[in-house]
């Protein structure tokens, strides 16, 4: 059978369209996507006490804002590799998250990680999903209203956080005498504050509200002071893997563009009474890249 040139082109196009998903699967999977496809599972690193981003609920399952966003990425990954994958959760903390991502243990980190340039030497970040900064959590009757009031007092700081450095820098700049107690995570920092071992704890202000909400006596604590740092949060992915990064960006762009982000945000932040900041809304807009 002979075809006219126009028909031949049409037929070729149809074949190309028909074959493209299969062809994509066969040749294009590299790096993390190939690893996920081969293992049939995606490994998600999550925080255990970063309320409301990623924390363990009453059934000890990881839930939260970042976890919800990660689920969207998992859906997108499944779409890209053309099969369902299992999710394996690995708990991480500020000390382990970068190393576990750099050495390939986790494929995606869903927590409350600040995106900064030093960290980008080891890992890559998806578009910003939250904007916050360092503030101080203290007892209402402690008389502390800013960093300068910390003179002669004790403060707990989670090791490996950007807040640790922000507070240390502010303390040094003002030449204050502050006792610093290094703790491992927010839960331990809060325990130190609740048992009066320290006068204050510091981390990103949104997490402080989460800690207050989860404490037994929320009315005793207050978040005080000015922002001491600028902390844009983002989900972490492995470095030098643009194919996987693109899948993540696509998933987030879809969520941002469709406005679904508003529901997800409201689900986790309305109970804390924290409306989306204009800067964050701008970040959502900028992340909503067209197809």
């Amino acid at each position: 059978m002979t075809l006219k040139p126009t028909r031949r082109i049409l037929a070729a196009a149809a074949i190309a369209i028909g074959l493209s998903p299969a062809a994509l699967q066969a040749q294009d999977l590299t790096g993390t996507l190939a690893k996920i496809s081969e293992a049939g599972e995606i490994v998600i690193g999550h925080r255990e006490s970063s309320v409301p981003f990623a924390y363990l609920n009453d059934n000890q399952e990881p839930v939260g804002y970042s976890i919800d966003l990660c689920m969207k990425i998992v859906d997108e990954v499944e779409k890209t590799i053309g099969k369902d994958v299992n999710i394996r959760y690995v708990p991480v903390n500020p000390k382990t998250r970068i190393a576990l991502m750099a050495n390939g243990t986790i494929d995606l980190e869903c927590g409350s990680t600040t995106n900064n340039l030093t960290r980008q030497q080891q890992v890559e970040y998806l578009p910003t999903t939250f904007v916050t900064g360092t503030k101080i959590l203290t007892r209402k009757d402690s008389g502390i209203t800013s960093v300068s009031d910390l003179d002669g007092k004790a403060i707990a700081l989670a090791q490996g956080t950007t807040n640790e450095r922000a507070i240390k820098a502010a303390v040094e700049a003002q030449g204050l005498d502050v006792k610093i107690l290094p703790v491992r995570d927010h839960a331990e920092g809060m325990l130190s504050l609740e048992t009066d071992r320290v006068d204050a704890y510091s981390t990103d202000h949104i997490l402080l509200f989460g800690l207050i909400a989860k404490s037994k006596t929320p009315e005793e604590f207050a978040v005080v002071g000015d922002f001491l740092s600028f902390d844009p949060y983002a989900l972490m992915v492995p470095r030098d893997d643009s194919a996987f990064e693109l899948v993540g960006k696509t998933a987030l762009a879809n969520v941002f563009r469709s406005g679904e982000i508003k529901e997800i945000y409201a689900k986790w932040f309305d109970p804390l009474g924290v409306p989306a900041d204009p800067l964050l809304q701008a970040a959502f807009r900028l992340g909503a890249l067209p197809e």
């Binding site: 048992t195 071992r197 470095r239």
Partner: protein, 239 residues
């Protein structure tokens, strides 16, 4: 693995200083805890072998309690729970005014834990001394105190030097748990370097090498001691 290796961070003055200060804390915690462990452990170990029922039961209870609770849990109990159980004034003092609260707590926790292990070595050493010697000493008209002072302890302490070497090494390694209550010892400092530079593999390698060096030094010292204290004919090797 996408990782940028950079060994030179370890030798930057700031980070090198952290490692040295961490090493200082590790050695201080371990040695102070070792002193507590030796004193308390010897007393408890001897106590377990005494004919007095009450004393030996109490000492056995001590060993079982401290040896069977994970050290990490003990650290947390000493650090977080004990100050809440004592009267408020004392608790507040422990949390705020006690000199170096993290260091002191770590030394006490590690010392008492290690004491339970030392006590077992001491008891084993005393029980290894042939029964005839004890009977002979008693037949000479020695009191119990004299039997221990002149016969049992001089022999048993020389016998237990080799097993004590490994307890001594363990105390250095266990001191790393002090980081969980906020003491910036060697492991904590290497973690901190990892956090500041994100060169975690280099930082932990440095800690590993330093721990091995500490262990080697401790082993050399203990083997010299072992040679000095060996009872000819009692232990296996002759030289």
């Amino acid at each position: 693995m996408n990782y940028n290796w950079n060994w030179s961070v370890l030798f930057e003055p700031e980070y090198f200083g952290w490692l040295i200060s961490g090493l200082g804390w590790t050695i201080s915690v371990a040695l102070c805890a070792w002193v507590i462990a030796l004193v308390v452990g010897s007393l408890v170990g001897v106590g377990r072998t005494l004919p007095n029922r009450l004393v030996s039961t109490l000492c056995t209870a001590y060993v079982e309690l401290f040896r069977n609770i994970p050290l990490l849990v003990q650290m947390f109990i000493w650090y977080f729970a004990v100050p809440e159980m004592v009267p408020e004034e004392a608790g507040r003092w422990m949390k705020r005014d006690m000199p170096q609260p993290e260091f002191t707590t770590a030394v006490v926790a590690l010392g008492l834990y290690t004491a339970s292990r030392v006590a077992e070595q001491v008891r084993a050493g005393i029980e290894t001394v042939p029964h005839g010697l004890k009977s002979a000493a008693t037949a000479q008209g020695m009191s119990i105190a004299q039997v221990y002072r002149y016969v049992l302890l001089p022999i048993s302490f020389r016998l237990i030097v080799p097993p004590m070497t490994s307890e001594f090494l363990t105390v250095f390694k266990n001191s790393s748990l002090a980081l969980t209550i906020g003491l910036l010892e060697l492991t904590a400092q290497s973690q901190q370097i990892a956090e500041y530079t994100f060169q975690s593999f280099e930082a932990y390698t440095a800690a590993t090498v330093i721990y091995v060096l500490i262990a080697l030094c401790a082993t050399v010292i203990m083997s010299l001691l072992e040679r000095q204290t060996r009872i000819p004919g009692y232990s296996g090797k002759e030289n």
